[in-house]
């Protein structure tokens, strides 16, 4: 049995409750024991580092210090924003002991930071620590027939020198995961464009503009739905979709799934637990594609060649 430290993040108790739920379900079925950081606090998100350098480090650092009290080598974080803040803090603290000492002084009551816990996003944890094989082995109800656009957003793979995970421009980890579940990942060029992130509330216009482009490109790629690994992306793309449809005058109707929701689905768990009812955009239409396998356009079969790959023989 694997053990991992779990940092749910504020949205797990709010807008992304379904992410939190499905993560727990999926991890249980994958035989991973999750230990939640006791009495964790908010990572500070964009706001903290917009206004105060010290708080931007101090808030995540407290969580890192608390996490070290649990005896696990790795910490997995579902929320991309929390992941980014904790990882940036970890990297900067590890690089700069002087800074670490300074920031540590604000949370010294909780303990001293040692830097021994690896920080990973839930996606990274699933991809690297659990592995595609383990995921594939749990699939009971293949998602074959579904075409999915995998959307990573800004924070999971960028900046490369902080995250050290996958490509910052055209990542493929989530694509591999959904393909392990049986679905087909579409070629989607807007994988890592920004959805507008924290402007969700303060500047809706930006969010509508950016998210609409992402949705349109996903539509264009032929996807039935979008898969995400970030609560903020999910809420921007899902909750703002009616607004976007009104704004552009085009029907989009793309449900936005967390990748763990789809994993739970493919693992054959009850749809009720996945809280599809919380989605603003109804999911039924997209899920109806499961099992509907399009016949592959038949290729004209050429006579088998003697030497393949590099060279060929007439």
């Amino acid at each position: 049995m694997k053990k991992v430290t779990y940092f749910p993040g504020c949205s797990a108790h709010g807008t992304s409750e379904e992410f939190d739920m499905t993560v727990k379900m999926v991890m249980k079925s994958l035989d991973v024991q999750m230990e939640e950081i006791p009495d964790w606090n908010c990572c500070g998100a964009t706001s903290a580092h917009s206004l105060s350098e010290t708080l931007a480090y101090a808030l995540p650092l407290r969580n890192l210090v608390l996490a070290e009290k649990l005896d696990n080598a790795t910490m997995a974080i579902p929320c991309a924003s929390c992941y980014q803040r904790l990882k940036v803090t970890k990297v900067h603290m590890d690089d700069n002991p002087e800074l670490a000492r300074k920031i540590n002084s604000t949370v010294i009551d909780e303990g001293t930071y040692k830097g021994k816990v690896a920080v990973k996003s839930m996606l990274q944890y699933c991809y690297e620590d659990i592995g595609l094989e383990a995921i594939k082995s749990k699939v009971t109800k293949s998602l074959a027939g579904m075409k999915l656009a995998c959307y990573y957003g800004c924070l999971l793979t960028r900046p490369k020198n902080i995250t050290h995970f996958d490509s910052p421009e055209y990542p493929m980890s989530m694509d591999h995961i959904v393909e392990a579940l049986g679905a087909k990942a579409t070629e989607f060029d807007y994988k890592t464009e920004c959805c507008g992130a924290s402007f969700s509330i303060s500047d809706t216009e930006v969010v509508i503009n950016l998210s609409s482009q992402i949705l349109e490109m996903a539509r264009e790629s032929g996807a039935h739905a979008i898969v995400v690994a970030c609560p903020l992306c999910q809420s921007n793309l899902d909750m703002r979709q009616p607004d976007i449809e009104k704004h552009t005058g085009k029907k989009i109707n793309l449900p936005i799934f967390y990748f763990t929701q789809l994993m739970a689905l493919a693992f054959g768990m009850s749809q009720k637990d996945m809280m599809f009812n919380k989605h603003i955009v109804p999911v039924e239409g997209a899920l109806a594609n499961i099992g509907k396998i399009e016949p592959e356009p038949e290729k004209v079969k050429k006579p088998r060649k003697a030497v393949e790959a590099e060279s060929e023989v007439e």
């Binding site: 910052p168 055209y170 590099e310 060929e312 023989v313 007439e314």
Partner: protein, 657 residues
């Protein structure tokens, strides 16, 4: 007893204003060994030198100290004066009282004078230990080795051979011609590249003074200037060039198809092939990695159809040796692989090609008969986006430097595109247009005005696919707005990089190379074709990216340098090199280990006078030793000394202050 003459120079006011020159002379006269001391306004002038010459004979001087400017300036001049007076020129010492005293202590004349006196005393002390040295002359083998048969190697080989000096031209691939043979037309005149290159290639093949060794590589180079020995591996071609007529039956019948390197893999060649129709020598070779006869023992068609029986599947690599006197390195360049540009979808989108692929497409003898097409669907493109600085000037993904030729070849491509597809439109994303060269700016103007290519100033940030079009997004900084171009084809002007094995070759030759892998010239301005290793010269892109005119000029310069070395039967060399005292040498060979030039070997000498027992001692190769003194400092038994900088000379300087 040493008799030293001291000559102190005023250097006009340069020294005299800040150093009390008469006082220095007076101080010098107080040194026991100094038999003559004098000052003069300009020691380096002819009357000044005359004073030295006169004093040498008049006072029977045994060594000379000139206190003047830096020895790096006038040491040669004064040495000449000594030898004119019949004295060994190496009995001279220069005390640098200008750069090291008068110019740097202008506020304290007393201290400057004191220091000048000290410097003179040090030079006197050193000069007492000076020995008579004689220039070393080294015999020269008059044959040049040219490595690489691109335009640089071809030009260098022809120029040297025309001076009736034998040349060995080694080319890695089956044919000479290099990158230039792949080009369609050349900027800024739009000459047909093949038309100007092929005659030169034929000249190389037929020149009586050129030995062309294609499909071969240099394995070893040992020796020193004038006396190198090169080991060359002739790769097995499996075709007997002596009997092959190049009729072409074999490659017509060969069943194995391989991506064609000459056409950047756009079409296929056979496993037995000549790289291109105009190849020199026009004899095929068998690609051992793909030939099924050689890999699996099945086929053998080429041997069957060859009337001359020239095919020999059992042929082995052959190693040959050549004695040579000088080397010209002309290994050319490679193109940078743009794969790290993930944001452009390089590797995912078929319709993104590199400039050389485009060049092959628009070339009349190219795989698409001179018409550019989209690799995805074979359609002729309308909107073509050219992106410059791919890999160049990009330290994040590629290399820091500017590749120099991309601005111009991209300009050429816009014009060629216009010629081949009249209703097309070229968009060029650029950062700067670097068109410094004869007729270059006019050429850019031609592209911008005559063919109305749209120039957009900015780096492209993203390329994505919409339908079957590629959308290219970048900022046009001229209007400060983000623009998107709907493109049919995107051409990347990839950076020029040194060939991957350049550092290996450089190490093999003993030449230094920079962090990118370009070989380093001896001096960036004043010795641009020499390397730090005597007798090895650089031509073309092996030194840095450059265009054809510059390459040809540098190749000819190399030829002139080679001819210079071969102008006499022997070469003169500075005698300031190491020597071994056999009596003290223990044969531990630490010197052999640290010598950067491999100039030290070992020899066996009798244990004692008349003894039959032998022992090993070190031996310096005079021709190779450059006189760095590394061996001297590691010689614990002090058996090695460096002429001109002996332990005694340096200690004399130290203790005489």
């Amino acid at each position: 007893m040493a008799r030293v003459g001291v000559f102190v120079c005023f250097c006009g006011a340069n020294i005299a204003d800040f150093v009390d020159v008469p006082k220095v002379v007076e101080e010098a006269k107080r040194i026991r060994e100094v038999k003559f001391a004098i000052d003069y306004k300009y020691m380096c002038s002819d009357p000044g030198q005359q004073q030295i010459r006169d004093a040498i004979t008049q006072y029977r001087l045994t060594s000379i100290v000139v206190a003047a400017c830096s020895p790096r300036m006038h040491e040669k001049t004064f040495r000449k004066a000594l030898s004119d007076a019949g004295m060994n020129p190496y009995l001279l010492e220069v005390a640098n009282i200008r750069e090291h005293s008068s110019w740097v202590h202008q506020k304290d004349k007393k201290a400057a004078t004191e220091k000048a006196s000290d410097l003179v005393r040090m030079a006197v002390a050193k000069s007492i230990a000076n020995e008579q040295l004689h220039e070393i002359s080294v015999p020269v083998t008059k044959r040049a080795l040219v490595i690489g048969g691109g335009i640089a190697g071809i030009q260098a080989a022809l120029d040297i051979a025309d001076a009736r000096i034998p040349v060995v031209l080694v080319e890695k691939s089956p044919s000479i011609g290099g990158k230039m043979a792949q080009l369609d037309e050349t900027f800024p005149t739009l000459d047909c590249s093949q038309c100007i290159l092929t005659p030169k290639m034929v000249d190389v093949a037929s020149h009586p003074y050129i030995e062309l060794i294609p499909y071969a590589e240099v394995l070893e180079l040992e020796g020193f200037v004038g006396n190198y020995k090169a080991k060359i591996r002739k790769k097995a071609s499996y075709v007997n060039f002596k009997t092959c007529t190049g009729c072409g039956t074999c490659w017509q019948k060969c069943p194995v198809k391989v991506p064609n390197e000459y056409n950047m893999g756009i079409d296929k060649r056979k496993a037995i092939y000549t790289p291109f129709p105009q190849a020199v020598p026009n004899k095929p070779v068998i690609d051992a990695a793909h030939c099924t006869m050689l890999t699996k023992g099945k086929c053998g068609i080429c041997a069957k159809v060859c009337e001359k029986g020239s095919i020999d599947y059992k042929m082995q690599d052959e190693i040959i040796e050549r004695e040579i006197g000088a080397v010209v390195v002309a290994t050319g360049y490679d193109l940078w692989d743009p794969k790290p540009y993930e944001e452009y979808g390089v590797g995912r989108f078929k319709d993104i090609i590199t400039s050389l692929e485009f060049e092959r497409m628009v070339s009349a003898n190219g795989p698409t008969n001179g018409v550019p097409v989209r690799p995805s669907d074979g359609k002729v493109p309308k909107n073509v986006v050219f992106i410059k600085c791919i890999g160049s000037r990009d330290e994040a993904k590629g290399i820091e430097y500017c590749s120099k030729i991309c601005c111009m070849y991209t300009t050429k491509h816009t014009i060629l595109l216009h010629h081949k597809v009249h209703d097309s439109h070229a968009y060029v994303f650029y950062m700067d247009i670097r068109a410094a060269g004869k007729g270059y700016e006019e050429f850019v103007k031609k592209a911008q005005v005559d063919t109305a290519a749209t120039y957009l100033r900015g780096r492209v940030s993203k390329i994505y696919k919409k339908g079957d079009k590629l959308i290219v997004r970048g900022e046009d900084a001229q209007i400060g707005q983000v623009v998107e171009v709907v493109a049919d084809l995107v051409v990347l002007a990839t950076a020029v990089i040194p060939p991957k094995d350049n550092p290996d070759l450089a190490r093999l030759l003993g030449v230094s190379y920079d962090k990118y892998g370009y070989m380093s010239e001896a001096h960036p301005k004043l010795r641009p074709v020499e390397t730090a290793k005597a007798g090895i010269f650089l031509a073309g892109c092996t030194q840095a990216p450059k265009d054809i005119p510059d390459t040809v000029a540098q190749a000819s310069a190399c030829a002139a340098k080679v001819c210079g070395i071969f102008s006499g039967d022997t070469m003169k060399k500075d005698p300031m090199i190491s020597t071994v005292n056999n009596e003290y040498c223990t044969g531990c060979q630490n010197c052999v280990k640290v010598c950067p030039y491999g100039a030290i070997v070992t020899e066996e000498v009798p244990m004692g006078h008349g003894s039959k027992e032998m022992r090993t001692v070190a031996k310096i190769n005079e021709g190779v030793c450059q006189g760095c003194g590394s061996c001297v400092a590691v010689c614990r038994s002090m058996a090695i000394s460096l002429a001109g900088f002996t332990d005694l000379q340096i200690i004399n300087e130290i203790v005489s202050i």
